[in-house]
């Protein structure tokens, strides 16, 4: 069987270890692996290459993805999907592995129902926002990149009486912000999933500053849209000079952590074994075990942060 791998949507650290495992395990299973460059756009344009072992060399420690990624508007049109299918057919490719998020899986699902192509979706996005699935590749690396930034900002915050606000990525999902706050000892954490109360935060902080607190760190999910307001609020209401840092795209890079490399290894192994059995769907990870979900089932649900974490976060939002 000929199988191809592609990345779709935002990139994340862990994609390269996944590509490496894809190439090597494909050979082990007797498949012929292919690389589709630049995501769905590349599939439409026939940007497809047979992989060999050398493609897997020296990539395991690299962030991002060596085969590129894209978002594609053209793929919404049947005409381009057909073109994509013909590119696969010409090469004899019967199965696809796609590293990406919800939207990409849905696109592949539609595609695999229109054309005789199996697909295996591997959750890979730093937002960790895929429902019915606890972990998406790249999240652990992103969290550790954020941790380094928080530790660095703490160094300088503690040298002054100063508030530091750090905005993390994650769109509608507060996972990155919440875990970062808990694991860096932040005093404030504002995420979409937790109702926050500025007046009780104010009361708490004023008490703590009276008792000797010198600085504070606030971590805010971009989805809350409050970063710059919070800076002014801290200066006005708490009376502490403050600085906001929007971490931005550094969060998407960084050498993959061990956890991301190992999860990539396992996710891809399961995904290829599904394809070898003729099974399409999204590989999910829950409570330490891998499973399979239909994309429609995933899209009908909503990603939920673990209740224990949400409970921990309440203290930082009040």
């Amino acid at each position: 069987m000929k199988v191809a791998i592609m990345c779709s949507g935002g990139d994340s650290s862990g994609m390269n270890p996944a590509i490496k495992r894809f190439i090597e395990y494909s050979f082990e299973l007797g498949f012929k692996p292919y690389l589709i460059y630049d995501g769905l756009e590349g599939m439409i344009d026939g940007n497809i290459k047979k992989a060999d072992y050398s493609d897997a060399a020296g990539i395991i420690f690299r962030g991002g993805t060596i085969i590129g990624s894209s978002r594609s508007k053209r793929f919404y049109e049947y005409e381009y999907r057909k073109k994509a299918y013909e590119n696969l057919k010409n090469k004899g490719i019967e199965a696809l592995m796609v590293l990406g998020g919800n939207g990409s899986f849905k696109a592949l699902d539609v595609f695999s129902k229109e054309f005789p192509v199996l697909y295996s979706g591997i959750p890979a996005t730093i937002d960790n926002d895929i429902a019915l699935n606890e972990y998406t590749l790249g999240t652990d690396t992103a969290l550790n990149v954020i941790r380094h930034a928080c530790d660095e900002i703490r160094d300088t915050s503690s040298s002054f009486r100063r508030g530091s606000i750090i905005e993390t990525m994650g769109r509608e999902c507060g996972y990155l912000a919440l875990v970062s706050a808990l694991s860096s000892g932040a005093e404030i954490c504002l995420v979409p999933e937790i109702e926050f109360n500025l007046s009780s935060i104010k009361k708490r902080l004023i008490k703590e500053f009276k008792e000797g607190r010198r600085y504070l760190i606030a971590i805010v999910a971009e989805g809350v849209g409050i970063t710059h307001y919070l800076k002014e609020w801290l200066e006005r209401e708490i009376g502490i000079e403050s600085r906001a840092t929007v971490l931005g795209h550094v969060q998407r890079g960084g050498s993959p952590t061990v956890f991301d490399r190992l999860m990539a290894y396992e996710f891809v192994t399961i995904g290829l074994e599904n394809l070898s059995k003729g099974i399409s769907g999204v590989v999910v990870y829950n409570n330490g075990n891998f499973g399979l979900k239909d994309i429609d089932e995933i899209n009908a649900a909503k990603y939920q942060i673990k209740p224990m974490l949400l409970k921990f976060g309440e203290r930082l939002a009040n």
Copy 2:
């Protein structure tokens, strides 16, 4: 209630975040937290201090443990355990949290049966070798320290035709070596849990070097005791100049990763809630959930690496 925390046995990254959470959550629960310095030895010698918030400041990002640790022969004798108990009694301490491994938990279990003291054991050792429990604090940090070393050694190995053997810690447990090998793309991995076959490794390598391989990385658990032999074997049988690196104590240090900080947060939360309910025992983590085990149950069992990982490792041992 007055509760005390101590570290016992080898230190690991993640102990400091655990101490921070212990102090802060104790206050939140209305407990009075104490710190026992230098482990069981310090408990015998009365090296015990009331904790306040300032003890929790600036420690979350530090490896090792700010309260020290020890191994204690004296604690095997009733006389010294009695002395330790009197030190606790004098301060009114009724419950202990201990960060350590099997041996330390067993010691505390005996102690809590002799004297009216609750204990909560929190798995913390880089060896990840506690039965009926999937994760011990410090493992993820150790793995990432090893990863950095492997990535650095790969840089220089690939500049030459060279074999590099890296020996990891872990005593009888090959977890660190196995996960490091999978996540750094090593060509050889030798651990106590997997039978290896040097002649099939030889056959495999000779083929690969013929096809263009320039260098190789072998990761070996210290418990196999083969590091220096393997160096000579590679030079003699494969004909490739080789170097062995024994990583040693660097593996115990390093700023705790996000995973270790978060696990410390959760482990300690559960442990303190157990103590608040009058429950002694070891907090364990399995399949994404926390539970409670009796130490005798743990000691009757044997730590098992996940079968999927062992299966992955076979390819590297043959």
Copy 3:
């Protein structure tokens, strides 16, 4: 002799190793070392403490400054300077070492002419903008923090067709941006010291994208004030989707590099030896040697980036 150390103005990595060396070398020279907390503000408020060896323990690897820093408006008024002097006099402190920049040195110079107090200025700011002096403590650490961010952003940029603009600190001085651009292989670098020409940049880039370039990195000094304009310009004129990242305060943190630790060691050694000989002034470093400058001489001059570096930068501004 009693000598005190303080930090003034923006903090930088390297201040803690300097404080450590100050304490230890003071004892070696037979001096009594003191710590002034929170800079000039703390000197006014008498926030001064006798140092002992324990103050120097565990700080060498920490970014920021354990004794805090500040900017002080009060110090412009004679009344407060007198108050500061009396605080020193009460403790018998005859000499000050100040870690900071131009403004702080000028303040101390005025102070030491009004009152019988020696001062030694040690250049410490990440901006590397002190005239007649090649190196200020913290610059190397800041450069390496920026490097990590650039390497991480490159990971994700190269996964897409994308332009990434990175804004570095440095106020009027483009040193950080220029060295970062050269050492991270950026395609564009805009700094105040080099005239840039967007139309020649456009011509160059369009040619390179035609020849296969997929992404670009631009590094811009904050003093140029062009970051967000450049993002729009790249999208409009070059037709490449772009993202801007303002690195912000992460640049002030990070564990001091070896270079900063060693320079701190040497700067403080020279500074203390000056004080022991009754000499006031600013310690400077040029062409591998340490010297002494009067602050007025420094303020009359202007910091110049090495001509060779400026020449290298021209290619990136055209």
Copy 4:
């Protein structure tokens, strides 16, 4: 003009940024750049390739050298040097840049006198042991790799009463060990250049442990050959449990620091400009300036660590 670059002897971080600059600046000067793989061995075997821009992409942040290196016995024989020359002649290569150490420069010097080939030697070795020259590429990166290991070992040492001995590379040169000791706050440093006195060290340590010291770090150059003896000595004479770590080949890897990237940029620029003027010799760096030395002049001298550093080190050897 056609110019080729090669690496020779031990690899070091900074070689890849040098190769990148070589390719790019060669094109800028109108030269045709070539890459010689695997050092002198590759030159003998004709392992030579024309470089293009793509060879310079994505290498600036990589440790080691993408073109490989070697030590060559064959090159001592005229016959093989002649073969090497013919390989160059066939391609029209008239000038060589070699990244390496003394031995490699001497070999090239002999070669360039026998055959009409210019050479430019660029000091590149982590040992920093080239006479009449203050800096060799890779030293700063190696120092920062050692720093990370020291900081990690300190974490765990401070958790126990423990001595940690760290052996650094550097052959006959103690530079790495001495600078590491000063910049990591070690208590003992033993290097070939400084006479040490164990009995005065013993006196000093016993006093400090009485006053409360809990742990100690000793950094030892491999050239002293005392690592394992020191471990036993500390246990026997000071009565402190101790561990030795031989850092080994991790020191040769690691992503090049900013300093190494910038020095690579400058060294190669000067070297290529020398070649463009028809000048052979070794590029050296002293007191902030680049110069040119004859290899015989270098070999007649001996590398000297800066006297100020040696003086600082005396305190740690007594």
